[in-house]
């Protein structure tokens, strides 16, 4: 695999971001998969998914957030406070969940105390929690509000044609990622879950046209290679935001391979396409509101369960790891339901709660994963 993917996945201000900035162009960070990247890209701005990767302490995060809060936004704030997002020209905060929406106030207030850490463009993007004609209407207006603010602040203009062009490019990357999924889910996967997550993550940190080229090259390589990951236990990774390739590496070890996921930093991005006909804003609103399989969309559990079972079937998984970051009640509780219903459907599950950030719990997690693999192994033997 091209090392560019991994490098982009494990560094914040990577070469691609630096090159983009050196060309005098702007970068806007966003915190949630409900923000339509296409809009920023059409404005000539690099959409950059803000992450917490690399935070080694929480001194700043804990100063502003309360104690009972998910460690992901705390890690993001920590990095912002340390100046590691200084390359951002803007940030978009969404009510993805309560912890994440409070990043708005915490980042702003930290910006009053620590000079220079708050991007000049700072936008609260109101995303509805359900899909209906009136929520789509709201979301269209919200995207238009974002568009107007981006245009005003950065002195750019986003035409419908530019937007359609961006939609086509992003859809193309989704097509390629779907093909890429085929190499993950094959009988003998050609790529491990660790590298696969890096490939997907890289797309959130680099220019989409470069990303498409890199994906095409990768697919060519994969087509010529043989699946090497034989006889491994096939797992699917589900749950809270996870952008740490080391977590997947820990899970996979020498005996398992993560062949599928349902993570907002993972394959949720290419789960569907934006309609390329008709009004582009409406198309973005419909796709981003309807096709993001996140428990923040309340009352849609049955649909998400069906989607997971279908995914597990397609990838022929031996088991599912349901993980959530502590204090993530949305994923944590839904994982409880998934565990009940997937086990009922004959799919073994491991439910783990963890902290976001450096793998301080490596031993405990490793032991639980090993025990899970044992369980799956015994199940196979007795089958």
């Amino acid at each position: 695999m091209n090392s560019a993917f991994m490098e982009a996945a494990i560094s914040l201000n990577n070469d691609y971001v630096r090159e983009w900035k050196e060309a005098g162009k702007k970068v806007v960070g966003y915190t949630c998969s409900y923000v339509p990247d296409e809009l920023l890209y059409a404005a000539g701005i690099l959409p950059y998914r803000v992450r917490g990767f690399g935070a080694t302490e929480a001194t700043i995060g804990d100063t502003y957030f309360g104690p009972f809060i998910c460690s992901l936004p705390k890690a993001m704030l920590q990095l912002a406070g340390e100046g590691r997002f200084d390359f951002l020209d803007g940030a978009i905060i969404t009510p993805g969940c309560d912890s994440m929406r409070r990043l708005d106030e915490c980042w702003r207030k930290a910006g009053e105390d620590i000079s220079g850490i708050l991007p000049k463009f700072f936008f609260h993007f109101g995303v509805p929690h359900k899909y209906a004609d009136y929520t789509v209407k709201w979301f269209i207006e919200e995207i238009l509000r974002l568009k107007a603010d981006v245009e005003r602040h950065f002195g750019v203009s986003v035409s419908d044609d530019r937007l359609r062009e961006a939609i086509r490019l992003f859809n193309k990357s989704r097509d390629l990622l779907e093909r890429f999924d085929g190499f993950r889910t094959a009988g003998n996967p050609a790529i491990a879950g660790t590298e696969a997550l890096a490939v997907i993550l890289a797309g959130t940190t680099m220019s989409r046209d470069i990303y498409v080229k890199l994906l095409e090259e990768l697919l060519e390589t994969l087509e010529q290679s043989r699946g090497t990951l034989k006889d491994r236990t096939r797992l699917m990774l589900v749950g809270s935001a996870s952008d740490d390739v080391n977590l997947v590496r820990l899970i996979e070890g020498e005996r398992a391979v993560v062949v599928a996921d349902n993570l907002c930093f993972g394959s949720r991005f290419h789960a569907d396409r934006v309609d390329e006909t008709g009004d582009p804003i409406e198309a973005l609103a419909k796709r981003y509101l309807a096709k993001n399989e996140c428990p923040r969309m309340y009352g849609e559990y049955d649909g998400r369960l069906k989607m997971l079972i279908d995914k597990a079937d397609r990838a022929n998984v031996d088991g599912v790891i349901l993980q959530n970051i502590r204090f993530c009640d949305l994923h944590g509780s839904e994982n409880g339901l998934f565990e009940r219903d997937l086990e009922k459907a004959g799919i073994p599950c491991l439910k783990i709660e963890r902290e976001y950030g450096p793998l301080v719990e490596t031993g405990r997690l490793k032991m639980r994963v090993e025990a899970f693999l044992e369980r799956i192994g015994q199940r196979r033997q007795s089958a």
Binding site: F65, R102, E339
Partner: protein, 469 residues
């Protein structure tokens, strides 16, 4: 969960408890005092409420009636719905759906039983619901998940966009119990025409949902009757709130709880109006005599609770306040946001309030939608806390208007939406001149921090800040 707890329906047990409590005063004073010895974990609540006289008696009867209503709804040909405190039940009563408010039932259990809701809290975790979720819903939710509550027809909430952990509790309940679910969604801004339109469309979808699952059409006359009752209740609450501005405050400490609890139970119904009218009579009488509502008659200081109260251990918080001459100047739950509310008039924030319009069905639905979108917490804790008409502005306005000497935050560790920024919020209220205290306990679960520890910390705050000399 202990097997004996599964022997009886928890809500039927609670009904028996409150029905018996409502009869305590039927005998002589001596009989009453003797009876209190037999309810050692409930007598604090009983005395705090019943000692207020008629309002307390009506309030206890209200709780009893509420429980009976939803428990027997199905056998009477009606429906019931699990719902939340900040969901105005008016529309449900107008459509013959009896609400089952999880948080109020959690409070009722913490009032009545030494165990509070501990075993139901833990049962939730056993079936996969996170232990970090808010205890206010979890305490009663566990009973329904364990099958020791009444059978449920549907689950309704209105907190997406305001409180994840609340909304998530209801979504989980619906998925677990496999019953229909509907949520009203709250956009991050309040006072914009497009937000009003959103609330209105969402509320219409709610009505369509209820009609579908009950097979009953919304009756315009019933809706009008309920709305008129809500309007009357808003007038009464406005008068009570006006009286609370007086020095000394003529409202007994427990009135605040009774105001909001009664509205959560019976908004739009005569039962609520009766309690409010009775409270107003007592408060007006005290006011006419210049008497404080505190049992010791001496008002030493005034505290404004910016979020919720602490309910465990048989109303020990109220006892603490009353005993120390601390006047309770309200919390976020007790405020009404109709355009006739005193604070709305005082600060000219009518644009963020709602008004009553009986013009036609559309106008009434719009009124209900806006009423619901201005319920406690729903109104103030959406969007950034420091945005216009949100939590900071509301708190500072109310604390100033009601002459509070300090601001106290109490919640639950499950409250992601406030713990996400309460430190910043407290920094701002301190800057505005209000000594502010953050309580770290759990309003519904004494195991997180004992009331004694919470009280120690609160006393320390009052002492160090020289508020209670």
């Amino acid at each position: 969960m202990r097997p004996e707890l599964k022997e009886y329906k928890f809500d039927s047990m609670l009904l028996s408890t409150f029905t018996a409590a409502a009869k305590l005063r039927n005998g002589s004073e001596k009989e009453y005092r003797t009876m209190l010895k037999y309810i050692p974990y409930f007598n604090g609540t009983v005395t705090a409420v019943l000692d207020t006289g008629e309002p307390g008696q009506l309030f206890i009867e209200c709780i009893s009636k509420y429980l009976e209503n939803y428990i027997t709804a199905r056998e009477k040909g009606f429906h019931n719905a699990i719902t939340t405190f900040c969901f105005s039940p008016g529309i449900l009563y107008a459509m013959d759906v009896y609400p089952i408010c999880l948080e109020v039932l959690s409070v009722a259990q913490t009032f009545a039983y030494r165990r509070g809701t501990a075993e139901f809290l833990d049962f939730c975790n056993e079936v996969g619901y996170t232990e970090t979720s808010c205890s206010s819903q979890r305490g009663t939710l566990g009973a329904f998940l364990a099958g020791v509550g009444a059978d449920v027809d549907m689950v309704l909430t209105d907190t997406p966009g305001v409180c994840d952990t609340n909304a998530n509790a209801f979504a989980f309940a619906a998925a677990y119990l496999k019953v229909p679910f509907f949520s009203l969604d709250m956009p991050p801004v309040l006072s914009e025409a497009r937000s009003d339109e959103y609330h209105n469309s969402d509320f219409r979808a709610l009505i369509a949902f209820i009609e579908k699952h009950t097979g009953r059409k919304l009756d315009i006359d019933r809706l009008r009757t309920v709305l008129r009752e809500i309007e009357r209740q808003e007038e009464l609450v406005a008068e009570l709130e006006d009286l609370a501005r007086m020095v000394p405050n003529p409202l007994p400490v427990s009135f605040n709880l009774m105001v909001y609890a009664t509205r959560f139970l019976f908004s739009g119904m005569k039962e609520c109006t009766a309690v409010l009218e009775s409270m107003l009579r007592v408060a007006s009488d005290n006011a006419s005599r210049g008497a404080s509502g505190l049992s010791g008659s001496v008002e030493k200081m005034r505290a404004f609770f910016c979020y919720i109260d602490h309910y465990t251990n048989s109303l020990r918080l109220w006892d603490f306040l009353d005993r120390n001459g601390i006047c309770y100047q309200g919390n976020i739950l007790s405020r009404s946001w109709s355009n006739m509310a005193p604070h709305v008039k005082e600060y000219r924030t009518e644009a963020a309030a709602y008004s009553f319009d009986y013009g036609d069905l559309d106008a009434m639905i719009r009124t209900m939608a806006l009423h619901n979108s201005r319920m406690p917490m729903i109104k103030s804790i959406r969007g950034p806390y420091d945005a216009p008409d949100m939590w900071l502005q509301d708190t500072l306005s109310l604390a100033k208007m009601y002459s509070a000497d300090c601001i106290i935050y109490n919640g639950t560790p499950g409250c992601r939406n406030t713990w996400g920024m309460v430190k910043l919020f407290a920094r701002d209220t301190e800057k505005a001149g209000f000594p502010t205290f953050i309580m770290y306990g759990d309003a519904f679960d004494d195991r997180v921090e004992s009331w004694e520890a919470s009280q120690d910390r609160l006393e320390e705050f009052l002492r160090v800040r020289r508020l209670l000399v």
